[in-house]
Symmetry: C2
Subunit: 497 residues, 2 copies
Amino acid sequence: MFEIAETGHVIDKETYDAEEPALRADLLDAQYALRENGRFPVIILIAGVEGAGKGETVNLLNEWLDPRHVHVAAFGPRTDEEAQRPPLWRYWMELPPRGSVGILFGSWYTEPIVNRATRRTRQTELDASIGEILRLEQMLVDEGVLLLKFWFHLSKKDQKERLEALDRDKKRTWRVTRTDWKQFAKYDEYVKASEHTLRFTSTTAAPWILVDAKDRRYRELTVGRTIRDALQRRLAAKQAEEPPTPQGPVVRAFDGRNALESIDLNRTVSDDEYKPVLDDLQERLGRLCSSKRFARVGAALALEGMDAAGKGGAIRRLTRALDVRQYEVIPVAAPTDEERARPYLWRFWRHLPRKGRFTIYDRTWYGRVLVERVEGFCSESDWRRAYDEINAFEEQLVESGVVVVKFWLQISKDEQLRRFQERETTRFKRFKITPEDWRNREKWDAYQAAAADMIERTSTKHAPWTLVPANDKKVARLDVLRTTVKALERALKGQER
Amino acid sequence: MFEIAETGHVIDKETYDAEEPALRADLLDAQYALRENGRFPVIILIAGVEGAGKGETVNLLNEWLDPRHVHVAAFGPRTDEEAQRPPLWRYWMELPPRGSVGILFGSWYTEPIVNRATRRTRQTELDASIGEILRLEQMLVDEGVLLLKFWFHLSKKDQKERLEALDRDKKRTWRVTRTDWKQFAKYDEYVKASEHTLRFTSTTAAPWILVDAKDRRYRELTVGRTIRDALQRRLAAKQAEEPPTPQGPVVRAFDGRNALESIDLNRTVSDDEYKPVLDDLQERLGRLCSSKRFARVGAALALEGMDAAGKGGAIRRLTRALDVRQYEVIPVAAPTDEERARPYLWRFWRHLPRKGRFTIYDRTWYGRVLVERVEGFCSESDWRRAYDEINAFEEQLVESGVVVVKFWLQISKDEQLRRFQERETTRFKRFKITPEDWRNREKWDAYQAAAADMIERTSTKHAPWTLVPANDKKVARLDVLRTTVKALERALKGQER
């Protein structure tokens, strides 16, 4: 496929000089229209072979555009903060907010291609990375991102000439490192790994733009025009219409029963039984989390449930067993403006725990398919695609070593009423009950249906849901503790190998 | 001083049970009033000896307060992200926003005391840390933070008993580590270093609250009551009045001349002279930044100047010499809501570069004493104290190894007019000129006076201002490059030792 970028395009100085000022002005106009519009971000991905002028292009874009509203992110070796999180995390953190332009210099493509070209990974591992990239890019596009991916190509002969020229140029000789020549020695392997990767990631929504990089003027005009045209087209498009709603309802069992109904809300435990089991589980949890192996793992607990189902109480029974230095409880608050300007998972990504930490989410990313779905805060196509996005996200967490445990705390409608009334009359519980809780209660059935769908669609092998009967608070607390302890025991056993 | 926390306070169960529910409800009420008020944050610092119940207290506060609006930050060994920034950086990052409560478990006190008690540092180093802490806390208090510092004390005998008891308790034995016993062996050294530190950091604005930690109930009620009373008092205080304006104007030379007038705006450079010097400086800059020693240093460049003074052009002459992967240009944008809820320096702290990075600030933290002062966006006492706060901040940057270079680009009023008019007529420069620029121009003298004060108050030995005549853009660009290159050469030479 790279042959098409070796046809030797050349643009002479006159043509360039005639076109450049208008292009530059158009780009600025488009950038300002983007800021005013404010409905989507632009991500420009700059990739390709060394010596092909990628760095110069980034500098040029900073000159052509208003650099105050362009964020350039470049990626080197991973810091330990980055190494302790899923591989894509550091890219997630650099996503630009709506209305602005982000340039990614080096990106999620670099490591998979380098690792394959240098035979540090097998073909199947490259293909697995490609799968992850496809899902990420699909999500970005679904979230409205205008994603422009440029691949700068040079033929083997041209790359050699270019590196030699840089070597000779005393102003730039420091730019050609031993690594660049080492990479050049593996030119064919790089081309092979790149071609494979590009072919499978050139999608309709985010196709690769191959740039014949030999001629500077051709390269610059190609990049500039492509960005201008894509931006203008997107800005001219009508206010993004609601995409067509996916066909048909979520599949339901035809007897109308769902996962929630299998929960036995009548389970109880006596005080006498409760105390010793609680002590035992807390002791085991404390020991597990203070073991050295835990530092290589970490845990993420997700608690969801109907209002007043007892999430807070269950969380406190967990945290009492833990050292304050190692756990964190993350409540879901209203998104800040920085969060609203980015994909909805971003506000969870940014709080992702490091290894060796015990992180408890009091309500979670599932808000997308619960409250946002029921209250209509997002479109139907948004919450429908969220199931797969969430599954992909959790899978990445698990693959990076984190133990993910998810709980749905279920209570009966009567029990909720009883607890609401108690909250209203107990002085230090008043803060737990708001008019919103009463409004949500009126939509009990819709929330239950959404929860049932959620459990069916997101109970995966790597991150299954645990359904917890919570009419008896003691039962719920023990179930949460027991499941957590068992999941950790299994994971730490795995670490022994 | 610790004797007063060894008097053996004991509270019996009846007294505790009688008081606890009301205290708890009061605390919640105060917390909700704080959220509604939203004008200041509360920082609760939990420090003291091991085994004194610090962790339990944090858990208790999470139970008494609504934990969804309490953020607990605990600090362990530094990650490499943290190690590459000033020592206080990781605490800055955890400051709670206005309207909420942050609990710091372990804090800026831990390392200085531990290092001194274990003789890793000298007394003078401890005193230097104390100085930094005093400045930080003064700034926090000036920014409106309600800072409550609790020190949990146990006598030597009581600490020994407590550690032994924890060791015996099979549910908690994992909590007592070898480190705790090692620390205990140095009890007297710890007490000495702690007492010294506490004495000098118990200020009127943020006094230490010594807690006799032996009796659990006494400890809990003391902490709870203190927080409640402090919060209630602060909430009841009238809307923070403007603090009395400091006496007298900023000192001025009595001939009315200032630093800016010493700048020779008539300096020019010919095209023939310009090009070879530019090439040479860019080459030197590129070499310096790609040297290995640079990775241990890093650079922060601050550019300020009148509108249209040519900051952008000067920045581009710098970045062209650099590898895209190692520099970052940070433009000052309007603060986000997360930033507005924290001390004004926070939005600069969060973008602080790691070592080995070249960070260029296009306008800076000096906005506080320039635009915010002139336009009245902050109170007079706010910008007056900013000089010292900024000096302290830059000193910490320099001490952590970063080369700080600051430029004021000066142009004449006529030259500004000429450039404004040119911007209005050149299509791709239009974005650079806004009605705000014209409004600012009307306040030319006020901006000049503010700049002169700024330069006098913040041109320090570790981070001096360089005054750049910018009527001739080429002169300005060479001056900025030359000063940067020289500062880096000096710093890297220092690294050779």
